[in-house]
Symmetry: C2
Subunit: 336 residues, 2 copies
Amino acid sequence: MTAEVVPIPRKKPTLDPMLALTANGMNAVNSVILDRMQSEIPLIPALAGHLISGGGKRLRPMLTLAGAELVGYTGDRHYKLAAAVEFIHTATLLHDDVVDGSDLRRGKAAANIIYGNPATVLVGDFLFSRSFELMTEDGSLKVLKILSGASAIIAEGEVDQLTAQRQIETSEERYLGIIGAKTAALFAAASRIAAVVGECDDAQERALDDYGRNLGVAFQLVDDAIDYDSDAAEMGKDQGDDFREGKMTLPVILAYSRGTESERKFWKNAISGIKADDAALQEAISLIDKYNAVEDTRERARHFASRAVDAISIFPDSKARAAMAEAAHFAVARGY
Amino acid sequence: MTAEVVPIPRKKPTLDPMLALTANGMNAVNSVILDRMQSEIPLIPALAGHLISGGGKRLRPMLTLAGAELVGYTGDRHYKLAAAVEFIHTATLLHDDVVDGSDLRRGKAAANIIYGNPATVLVGDFLFSRSFELMTEDGSLKVLKILSGASAIIAEGEVDQLTAQRQIETSEERYLGIIGAKTAALFAAASRIAAVVGECDDAQERALDDYGRNLGVAFQLVDDAIDYDSDAAEMGKDQGDDFREGKMTLPVILAYSRGTESERKFWKNAISGIKADDAALQEAISLIDKYNAVEDTRERARHFASRAVDAISIFPDSKARAAMAEAAHFAVARGY
């Protein structure tokens, strides 16, 4: 097997090949999701459904399905497992909305705003439990190990992010550690379990893990860039949320480290919350522009996307591999 | 094997035989707990340790150990699994404190008061994930099925309780359904998994499940009674919390259903939160006294404790069985 170079496509990359590749499978996954979010307690499907039917891209379960295509798996175990992955993600989003006190999620009122924090926390717990029920039904201890490990790492990353909040001294390395845990761990696990159901060898399993992990980092970097990109076309949550919450993301880290003394003073006041009003947000965006920090964040994302693409080059060329590669380029190009 | 009648002890029942029975094992469990609550993110062991070292009785892991003694299991798998049970319970308590907005837990400031809601939610998620890691390491899919199922049911019970909050019309049947889910499901699972590691037959597995479930109901009933018992010796959380939160528990359900028209009007206003100040709490306690609702709640608990004791009568008489029976009587006599 030779590593082939996958050229960066000239035209604007899209998620379309990935969507086409996984369309049938995603119908099966969505059936599992709808079926298993049910409960005799009506508030549970109502609250879960608010988020689940709220138009997320379901990228993570899609990775499991695409990975299964890539490795030539022809069974149906991955539908349930992909639904388990999406449940973990949904539980995390619900808890994040409580943690961040979000008003909006995917352009709609966040679940916590409509249903309150208590129910939002508990329905997150329910979905989390359901995801482990689904995995247990599948019966692979290897999958359980991968996803329980990823879940613990996600929680660690979220706590770490909380600890770094309002701390202007947060370094790029620490930030990469945080997003590697809070975002990329689930991308990696979602991809990796495709290799497990496909009974791949260790190298292939690692390759899928690497693909997912690097894609996850690229994805989060661009998400964080978009929050400061005045031209952003794609924005679900309120722009400037990260800024108002004093969340340390790469655009801020770069602008701060490249800034003058007086600019650094501005950042300290802004991130610590002393002065983080709309005027400060405008100032922040203009400083980030000045140092090209949004574009350079995308450049960092491009690096991780390339690593993702190269990771799966050990697999023979296929529709699946091309779709997964384009998805990585799409992750970087989003919001342009 | 003949069913033997275990007489209700004359002297005041204690947890001492249970504590003696499980003392060595609990050391092993506590080591696993301390070891596996660690993380490179210092906030995680700090917050988890605040609750874990806060002097809970660790009744649930104790049930796993006692059950293992009862069935003559001599291995060491149950230590890790008992720690997993305690992690699930701890995660639930952390989330409960956020859900209820608690100030106190086990007589100390609740974790959410010291560390804030965001970190408390996330560390709960971490412990929950860790519990599934521990189970996966053990490798029994049967245990995973029991505990993931119980976790989903706990979350359902908590949501159901939230839905019943401030609803004076909540019936005793619905209340029993709620505590059966939010409390007794984990007691049942903790006991049942002892039969799984002990490779018992189905009848023995069900017997341990029944023991735990009935004990859990008795335990919760008495907890709820204590909250309105002016003579209560044992109170970790603020007395009257349930009242102020408009939580529907059996003492209120009984006093309401037995009350006069004007008393029912009082209860409606109190539980709905229109008038739930200290004077109202005193009035509530005196109405509950008037209708003997604390003692009758204990009487209901006594019924479930008896069912718990009888459930394990299929096992031969042993120190373990006697300790478990006394624990059930203790559950009823607590707080006298």
